[in-house]
Symmetry: C3
Subunit: 471 residues, 3 copies
């Protein structure tokens, strides 16, 4: 298998390039001094680290296990998820820094490596894994590696533009992670493995056991989503942000779980729960509340967002995905359009609305508090002094202008994702893909042992070998 050798060498080259970048462009946080950390600094580590680990669990267990629902693709699902996330969390650091420096024209700082940096690495990995969900089972490990490295370039550019130029806040990544990852993956999938070739495959389905493994992923994602939305909300100057994120996200997810169960029972033809809905749509509330989770949407607002997201997501699996596949030729193995795409749009729009309604006479929030939540609502930072510049003028916004910029960031994200995904799909098609006959099957890239019953039936490893040699 020459493809596997190419993959292996490419992986090593990527890691060696990363090694050089780590050696030349990074440094630890200032900490080697004899003076003890202040209590505040120590508190920050205590506050960030558990949330970092929760996000880590979402990336590696959550996404990894959720994708194991394919009955013959469990090794690839959890294994390639593992590999790609380990690549992405490193690569994201450098693309983020590259575009940040390029856009702001300041190359004087090294990248500071601390827990906060690792969280941003995991966020980048999240976007790549969402795209992977659309491509699952249809791409080779080598193609996936290329998608990962290229996607993160687009991802970082979009995030730097949105967060630091448009000053659109997106605490939980509804736009920059979920919307971007989903539409990037869909565009990439459309270019690379369009229907019907890619889905007319008997192995594109689950089994009882593989669905059970997938539920482990679902539940870990569901539980730790408040940490994803709130990991970067620790802010000594915006008191209460993190508590608000946690409460809003838990409420949105709980409401979403309930509406997804109800919708699954109502919208499926035979009135039975469908595991696809339960595994995915129950999470849509976490996506949809992401942009606005730290904003003042009130608990009832979070519940409404969650309920709507759960219903929309189930409806997506029942109605939208088949339509996308038939009419547009878009194949979407995990249904990321329903779990991340549409809920991400809801999140982005919700964020714009709640930003537009955070007027300066809002009860209990003075101008300072609002400016800590929305930097664009405050005065320009000290280093922006040219009062005629666009940068200067974009500060001191009112609520409506902030809402408009939030919405504009959502459109930008959508455009970047679709263009970047289509470009990447075209590019990766050149790398050469797998045989359609071997999709959704671990045996092409993995040593796969038999199942217990095979062995007792007499076939066992031998039978597996036969199938292997026929590939």
């Amino acid at each position: 298998m020459a493809a596997q050798e190419t993959f292996a060498y490419a992986a090593l080259v990527v890691q060696i390039v990363l090694l050089v970048l780590f050696a030349t462009c990074t440094e630890y946080t200032p900490m080697g001094k004899a003076s003890a950390q202040t209590a505040q600094e120590q508190l920050e580590l205590a506050a960030y680290y558990p949330m970092f680990q929760d996000v880590h669990v979402m990336i590696f267990v959550g996404f990894g296990m959720l994708m194991t629902f394919l009955h013959k693709y469990g090794f690839s699902s959890v294994g390639l998820n593992f590999f790609i996330a380990a690549v992405a969390l490193q690569v994201a650091l450098f693309w983020n820094a590259f575009w940040h420096n390029a856009v702001h024209g300041d190359w004087s700082h090294k990248i500071t490596l601390d827990v906060k940096a690792l969280i941003t690495g995991d966020f980048g990995a999240g976007a790549v894994l969402i795209s992977f969900g659309a491509l699952l089972g249809k791409v080779t490990p080598l193609q996936l590696l290329v998608v990962c490295v290229v996607e993160l370039c687009w991802y970082a550019l979009n995030e730097v533009l949105g967060a630091t130029v448009l000053l659109a806040v997106d605490m939980g990544g509804s736009m920059y992670v979920h919307t971007f990852g989903a539409y990037f993956g869909l565009a990439c999938s459309r270019m690379l493995c369009p229907a019907p070739k890619a889905t007319d495959n008997a192995d594109n389905k689950s089994s009882k056991t593989s669905d059970q493994f997938a539920m482990i992923g679902t539940i870990f994602l569901w539980m730790f989503w408040p940490s994803f939305n709130g990991a970067l909300a620790f802010n000594t100057n915006a008191p209460g942000s993190q508590q608000r994120v946690v409460v809003n996200t838990v409420l949105a997810l709980a409401a979403c779980c309930i509406s997804a169960f109800a919708a699954s029972a109502l919208l499926r033809g035979d009135r039975k729960f469908d595991m696809v809905d339960i595994q995915n749509a129950t999470l849509a509330g976490g996506v949809a509340v992401g942009s606005s989770a730290d904003l003042v949407i009130e608990p009832w607002g979070a519940v409404v967002v969650g309920m709507v997201a759960g219903i929309v997501s189930v409806a997506g699996y029942v109605h939208v995905s088949p339509w996308l596949e038939e009419k547009l030729g878009v194949t979407d193995t995990c249904g990321v359009h329903n779990l991340h795409g549409m809920p991400g749009l809801i999140g982005g729009i919700g964020g714009a609305i709640s930003a537009a309604s955070a007027t300066s006479d809002m009860k209990g929030y003075d101008a300072d508090a609002i400016a800590h939540i929305f930097p664009g609502r405050g005065a320009p930072p000290a280093d922006v002094t040219d009062a005629e510049s666009w940068t200067y003028k974009t500060y001191n916004r009112n609520a409506g202008k902030q809402g408009a910029f939030q919405f504009f960031a959502l459109l930008t994200t959508l455009g970047m994702a679709l263009c970047g995904g289509a470009f990447t799909g075209w590019l990766v098609g050149k790398v050469g893909g797998g045989d359609p006959g071997t999709m959704f099957d671990d045996k092409v890239y993995w040593e796969v042992p038999g199942e217990d019953h095979d062995e007792e039936g007499g076939g066992g490893g031998g039978a597996a070998e036969v199938e292997l040699s026929s590939v």
Copy 2:
């Protein structure tokens, strides 16, 4: 399936009622002010949040996976656990507040939503899920939803009476969560699905794979139990409580694990370990030490409690459960009587004994420290001024009186659980149950894919359809 439609509409109605309650009765913690949180407030979030997530894992992964031991009921086990817990954590907030206000005649405050409130919501969910363990496989989703909403009313009333009127402390919920949930579920099961109808079913058993999934639940419960017992023990005025809870709970669980393995090898007829014991009885120490985990039981006390609980629990599975089923007609799918019922009683009694022995000449604890652990040992709060009232007189207790009140709270819990459970079982029976022939089988309510070997054998999805249509 009209029943599924009714379920779906009922679920949506419940969530919409909750939405109205969130809109009218709740508020965020005070935090939107410009003034920064104090370091102490920030520390509280850092201290509560990881424990909240551990409790969350116990509720959603722990209980959910533990119940998947039934070989044909895995989707329902983890799925309905997920659904019911998401309902319960919301409902519990409002029943708790309702009874608290009703009992104390003070309706002036909104419910404050913060991480601490979410932890109490999860505690309520724990009680419901324990009851679900007794009913597992024998109730419809609709019945379960009704049980959940009604049970939490009784649960909250009992907890408010015990904790705020009787002033009986129960840090880890041995009484208010475990004893209550178990006996409520047993009484409910007796009314709703008595033996032999409910258990004379070939599908009420495990398989090798389903037992392995269940062990994931067991181990997450076992690991994070110290967080369950200690989540609410963070108290700047009762120094050391939380450390003591953690140490005592870990020791009780470790000792319990060992005695449960030993008892399983000794008490089972063929001297082999039985997975039922290992999955459940290893956890009994966490239940049994709950009430007294923050008290001064000394490490050896925790070890004794754990050892006894492990042995009692295994003996329960071997001897007590069959007796309950044959003599009293009580069916108990997960054996919650052995894991939560009897260990909960041990915990309540242990709490009473350790309270009675915390005399005021106890080494190293002055009156202040004792009053922080047992509010009833201290002076009445500032707003209780009528020296002739029962409320006033219940303060300033000595150790013996505190022990008596602890024991009284245990009896109250038992009574409320049995009455509430029997009432709820009767009520839910009116809702209409499933066909006994379809118990313990996912196929009634779920789309269930075939297993791998089915497909290879030629039957596959088709075979599953046949079974479905014959239901």
Copy 3:
């Protein structure tokens, strides 16, 4: 089964001895006083507890699930791992204290029980479980219990000598946990169950489902490894240590994951990924960076260590393990030599090198900071006053001397592990082992239900019974 009865009584005796030790030799941390904890003390609990829980997850879920890869030995893998870890975390506390007091001749203090103590208990459990990995499937529960208690004696002696006499630092336990556990297990396995008897067994293999369960273990180990390496690095006097550990460990693991995937594709004959490599070699970076994770190895150093460890570990599975088995008769069920042994040696050597290069003119680190990282580089503690004593003279080292002592501690560890393991293997052989024909099979010690397909085929529980009775 008389063997099971003996096991059960032995387990109870061990727990009762532990009970007596807890009653006589331990105490809570000072905390029962009326004075509130200082903010600093509260911060320490908030900082230690989440890391303790992560380590707990590694021990019970990580090791437990990772070992379930054997297709007929899943109950034993996760169950005995659970049992042994619960024993070990208690036993380790007492052996640690015993040797610490014996070596330093000071018996005046009780053992303080707090979260930090529980972490050290889990570290001891880690060493035992690594050794268990070499013995998996080949020893009886009773033998395993004896190994656990005896091994921890050697483990504690080695750790006390290395850390408190040689003053060799090993924050993540590359030497004291991983190297020790691996070579102890290998020596024990060589004495107790040498090849070819122990491995010429058709059941010493995985199945598709068992490999999937094992991946759950792998991923939890991988994610939480930074907590293992950093759990004890919280130090208000060595600012930044813990952040450095986290960053270095995450980078080493990410690089290792990538190099292990590449090596698996390159070194396996058919150019396919092998689950054995992915489950194990991806973790080698965490082992290898352990000793030096808190040192100033710079991010690129961590990446290099990780890459090398991943490749060495895969090469170990492909080339070294078969050689050890054929030439030396050493059987190693989980390949702990490749995951813990060789990476541990890399870690120990890496620690020595980085210690030797931490010269006093190192940029950004003054003498104080260095002395906090390496106690041997500083002045003797206040109670060491005899300037002529060996103890006194071992302080005030330069960088080279510290490096030499690190290397010497590695050699000591290797020697103690091999001697201790061989002795223990010989000793445990006297206890009487299982029948080679029943190795790697749960049915000998567990009630094992049938699989779903058995039942549908008509055999079901009955078939399982037949197999049981033929044992």
